[in-house]
């Protein structure tokens, strides 16, 4: 699929060269369609996303209405996966849990990107002492166990979903700082950046018009992996009772509530567990598939 990459000696026209760079970055996604792990990952992610999006507008059953008479029903056409200890439809609960997971992880990864990427670009652009201080501080946050940060924040500011979002967001920041900085540094020597500077463009403009578009692929790949981590973190926090609070549903909370019933209703734990596995696997495979393609050697093999 990918046309033969333009080697540097042929790179006479800087404008053309940048377009190639940029085109190449988007061609990954076309190439990716040939990677099995990417396709599987994308399919699983798509499944979870679809369920989560549908859950925003519609659920097969009203899960705010508890009906003890209907509890522990076996799977049927009415209740696709049966009902839980309060008579709620498990399938609806899982859909609603997917919604919670996706909203939390999207916002958390969003926080990481919105704060992390500018900081990373700043570090790459400034270099020198800023860069050193900045990155060491970044390492510090990075080294701190992420779930511990989350527990700290939620226990100080209370048990609410928003605090879980912030906590998960915070540990996404250093990841994006690194990716943005690394990506930007690799572009620093490029002629088109020099040309842009010669043309009189300011730092900000160069960053926005030339650097950012060229590292977008890296960021998207990283975001996909971070999404899976955020889903796992949200499930973990909710399992500990620090995330979603009633009446919100979450897979982690479902796991927590079903633990003592595992001897007679194991499906209550297995189903949300599977949902977590599917979504983490999905986003991870998708991200890993994309990342493999970024490796030039691998890319050649795939193309």
């Amino acid at each position: 699929m990918v046309k033969k990459t333009v080697s540097s000696d042929k790179r006479k026209d800087t404008r053309f060269s940048e377009l190639e760079d940029r085109a190449r970055s988007w061609q990954f996604f076309k190439v990716a369609l040939h990677s099995k792990s990417f396709i599987l990952g994308a399919a699983l992610s798509f499944l979870i996303i679809t369920l989560g999006v549908i859950a925003i507008f519609w659920l097969p059953h009203d899960i705010s209405k508890l009906s003890v008479m209907n509890r522990f029903k076996a799977p049927s056409f009415v209740y696709l996966l049966g009902t839980d200890q309060y008579g709620r439809d498990i399938f609806s609960m899982l859909m609603s849990g997917a919604r919670t997971s996706l909203i939390v992880s999207l916002f958390a990864v969003g926080i990481g990107m919105v704060i992390g990427v500018p900081l990373g670009l700043l570090a790459a652009g400034r270099r020198g002492i800023y860069d050193i201080i900045f990155m060491r501080f970044n390492d510090l946050i990075f080294a701190f166990p992420s779930v511990l940060i989350a527990i700290l924040i939620t226990s100080v500011y209370g048990q609410a979903l928003i605090n879980a979002v912030i906590a998960i967001g915070i540990f996404n920041i250093p990841v994006f700082v690194r990716v943005a900085r690394g990506g930007a540094l690799s572009l620093l020597g490029k002629e088109y950046l020099l040309a842009a500077r010669l043309a009189g463009k300011g730092r900000l403009r160069i960053t926005l018009e030339h650097v950012l578009p060229n590292i977008a692929n890296l960021l998207i790949v990283q975001a996909s992996i971070q999404l899976s981590m955020a889903i796992l973190a949200e499930a973990g926090l909710s399992y500990l009772g620090l995330g979603a609070q009633p009446p919100l549903t979450s897979w982690g909370k479902m796991l927590n509530e079903s633990q003592t019933m595992i001897s007679f209703a194991p499906q209550l734990a297995i189903l949300p567990g599977l949902a977590i596995v599917i979504s983490v696997l999905g986003f991870n495979l998708m991200g890993d598939g994309l990342r493999d393609l970024l490796d030039p050697k691998l890319r050649r093999r795939v193309s």
């Binding site: 009772g241 927590n256 003592t260 001897s263 991870n284 890993d288």
Partner: protein, 499 residues
């Protein structure tokens, strides 16, 4: 792909942890120590200064002793008082104390200590949570070092029972002020250590005046989370759990030979308490509507997995004076809506529901919030920690609705208290309680108790939900724990490991 495997491993680990709780209930018989779980951590360890039941669970007859005690069957037995005489007019009680009894701090237990303890508890500035227990006492005097004369201002049918409460224990004048953090009593166990948030440890008092207990060390561990409680029992970290918070797991434990499950009665009336002076809840019709919107059987099935008896007033169903008032406000959402309409709340309104940590409260709360939303009352659930519940709800009355179990025996009198957290005020009810205090004859007392039950049910002070069972899960080799809880206590004096 390395990361992927990491996640798969984590997922696998989490799942296997859930599915295969390691069943290693280790016999602790050789060491003669006991690890027992209770749901709530006490705010401190002075039973004469707080209503929190967890204090009595740990300390009653283990650390502290009173003149009398209440046994497993709810009967009064002598303890520090060997025996007593009652004068013909019923107004003078003479208690003869055991001699050679020492407090854990070495000071002697004598009439002076008894007089000090009782005077302190009934003083006007006393912080005792159950001052009504001492209301009938006019004076306490010491004709001899081991002789206590208690004079009453009116005949009382319940003095000996009242003196058996944890709130009436005898404390040492020397150490009374430090009992909150360093409890000193005359009991068979002495306080050793309190690791906040985790456990209180007590050890055998080798100088004990009476028969020595078999156990030499007992740790009370605080676990309110059902998952953690079940895991601790299955893994053998706990030898017993008093007030087991996971009723759904009881069947699983019953079928396991390593464990014994005792389901007894408790004095715990579980209620949906309402702030009778706050907003819409000040309106009787609104409170009645809430009562009509709740189906008790759903709560008992859904939150308690069938373990619990429905109640219609603040009274234990196993008491002979119990009146079944569960039919007074039957489950009827339509009626509830009509009542709300009559009260002028047709469009519904918002309430908060503060839930303390025990699982019966958290789970019932979810069900009740759902039931109330059916009649148009929008309930926001606020989970709170126990200390926060005691200060916000119980002390400062900053709440709309809450769920809690009142585990003191015969505690219908709390509805006569000024400034109690229900914010209920009824002179008629107070008069009945006053009369009950002065009545000795059993059938007349029962009539008054019945009257009182009906009054608070009609006033719909709270929504009365169910009687909490007293569930104890224990290692099958552990013997001697109470099956029923006629008073808040975990009496360890006769608990032992069988060989």
């Amino acid at each position: 792909m390395g990361q992927l495997y990491k996640y798969m491993l984590i997922a696998l680990f989490m799942t296997s942890y859930l599915i295969l709780p390691v069943k290693l209930a280790m016999a602790n018989a050789s060491t003669n120590s006991l690890n027992i779980g209770i749901a709530l951590e006490p705010p401190h360890l002075d039973p004469t200064a707080s209503a929190a039941g967890a204090i009595d669970s740990i300390s009653y007859v283990n650390i502290y002793e009173g003149l009398t005690r209440i046994d497993e069957h709810g009967e009064v037995q002598p303890l520090l008082a060997k025996f007593w005489n009652v004068s013909k007019d019923g107004l003078t009680y003479t208690f003869h104390l055991h001699e050679n009894v020492a407090f854990h701090d070495g000071s002697a237990m004598n009439c002076e200590a008894v007089k000090f303890s009782l005077d302190r508890a009934r003083a006007s500035d006393s912080v005792n949570a159950q001052k009504q227990l001492f209301k009938s006492i006019e004076s306490v005097n010491c004709p001899g070092p081991y002789e206590v004369v208690v004079r009453l201002n009116h005949r009382s049918g319940s003095l000996l029972y009242n003196l058996g409460w944890g709130d009436a224990v005898i404390v040492s004048p020397k150490s009374a002020n430090d009992n909150k953090s360093n409890p000193v009593g005359t009991g068979p166990f002495r306080f050793q250590k309190w690791q906040k948030g985790q456990q209180v440890t007590i050890i055998r008092n080798d100088q004990y005046w009476g028969p020595k207990p078999s156990l030499d060390k007992v740790a009370f561990k605080f676990i309110s989370n059902p998952n953690a409680a079940l895991a601790a029992i299955l893994s053998g970290d706990l030898d017993a759990f008093s007030g087991f918070p996971a009723p759904e797991a009881l069947m699983q434990l019953m079928t396991n030979d390593q464990f014994q499950v005792d389901i007894g009665t408790s004095e715990g009336e579980t209620i949906l308490a309402m702030n009778n002076k706050k907003g819409p809840l000040a309106n009787l019709k609104v409170r009645q509507a809430i009562a009509h919107a709740i189906k008790r059987q759903f709560l008992i099935e859904g939150a308690m997995f069938g373990f619990g008896k429905p109640i219609g007033s603040h009274f234990a169903p196993h008491h002979p004076a119990y009146v079944d008032l569960t039919g007074l406000y039957p489950y009827d959402p339509q009626k509830a809506k009509e009542l709300l309409k009559e009260a002028g709340y047709e469009g519904g309104f918002d309430l908060t529901l503060k839930l303390p940590p025990p699982s019966y409260a958290r789970r019932s709360g979810e069900l009740i919030a759902s039931e109330l939303s059916q009649v148009g009352i929008n309930v926001t659930i606020i989970p709170v920690e126990w200390a926060q519940w005691l200060s916000d709800v119980f002390k400062n009355k900053d709440y709309d609705l809450t769920i809690v179990s009142h585990t003191e025996p015969m505690d219908i009198g709390i509805y006569a208290r000024d400034d109690y957290y229900f914010n209920y005020e009824s002179d008629a009810f107070k008069a009945v309680m006053e009369q009950l205090e002065r009545t000795e004859e059993t059938s007349a007392r029962f009539e008054l108790m019945k009257k009182a039950q009906v009054m608070i049910a009609k006033d719909c002070v709270n929504a009365f939900l169910f009687q909490l069972p007293h569930t104890t899960v224990r290692n099958a080799k552990l013997q001697g724990l109470w099956v029923n809880a006629p008073i808040q206590a975990i009496d360890l004096t006769t608990v032992q490991w069988s060989q």
